[in-house]
Amino acid sequence: MLPRRRFIETASLSLIALLTPIQAIAAWASQAFKANSLDAAYQQLFNSTSFTTTRKIQILTPQTAKNPSAVPLKINANLPNVQSISIFIETANSPLVATFQLSATTSPFFSTHIKMVKTDVVIVVVKTAEKLYSNRKKITLINNHCGS
């Protein structure tokens, strides 16, 4: 029989070994999400803060949003070899909203809903195999639900 100390050691080691694959899958970009300025978030994600502005990234959203907890956002990146698409809110405390990684067969078009506390600028950065592109759009938030 194993002494108690050895038993606990082996048991905890094997538990760690069991848990590791799950941890590895969930390699969430926590540093980039914690970044409290746009440039810091850019630096974490892309190692760069300069992007080529392009109209080929279409941000399809109503110009005015009524429900701040679910602002609809559709993004169409009409660029070749898109690797990832990231969404930022310009003046939020932690600007990074989400980052989407796409495979070669995935269309660079998707939709989601985001939360906004006030009228702000949404910035979309697209990483292609060659370059970084970005585009921005201002979304006006109507706070009273009577506004049309």
């Binding site: 899958i25 969930a26 969430w28 970009a29 999400f33 907890s69 679910a70 602002v71 809110i89 939020a92 932690s94 990074l96 909203v97 989400a98 980052t99 989407f100 990684q101 796409l102 495979s103 067969t105 995935t106 269309s107 078009f109 998707f110 939709s111 989601t112 809903h113 985001i114 939360k115 906004m116």
Partner: protein, 93 residues
């Protein structure tokens, strides 16, 4: 998690709606949000979303990809910042 995967003209569009947080998960005073949503097809991750707390709490996410056929299966999985996760397999219609 509600998923619809529809095949049309070589493109499979996937719509995902995650009811989150469910009442059983809700904890008072803690920021809870989905961190990751991934979709796998034929062993490859075709879509991987890293989400932050600014994404709406019951996110509705849609995307599309090429290369699949009707009747093929895709696997979706999400996990949140509290260690909860869910997996689901759907057949492409």
């Amino acid at each position: 998690m509600k998923i619809k995967a529809i095949y049309k003209e070589e493109v499979t569009s996937v719509r995902v709606f995650i009811q989150y947080p469910t009442d059983s998960m809700r904890q008072v005073g803690q920021a809870q949000f989905i961190q990751e949503l991934s979709c796998q097809y034929a062993g490859n991750t075709i879509f991987l979303a890293h989400l932050g707390p600014h994404v709406s709490s019951s996110p509705f996410i849609s995307f599309s990809f090429k290369g699949a056929q009707k009747g093929d299966r895709i696997d979706l999985r999400w996990n949140d910042n509290q260690g909860n996760s869910q997996k689901k397999q759907v057949t492409i219609k």
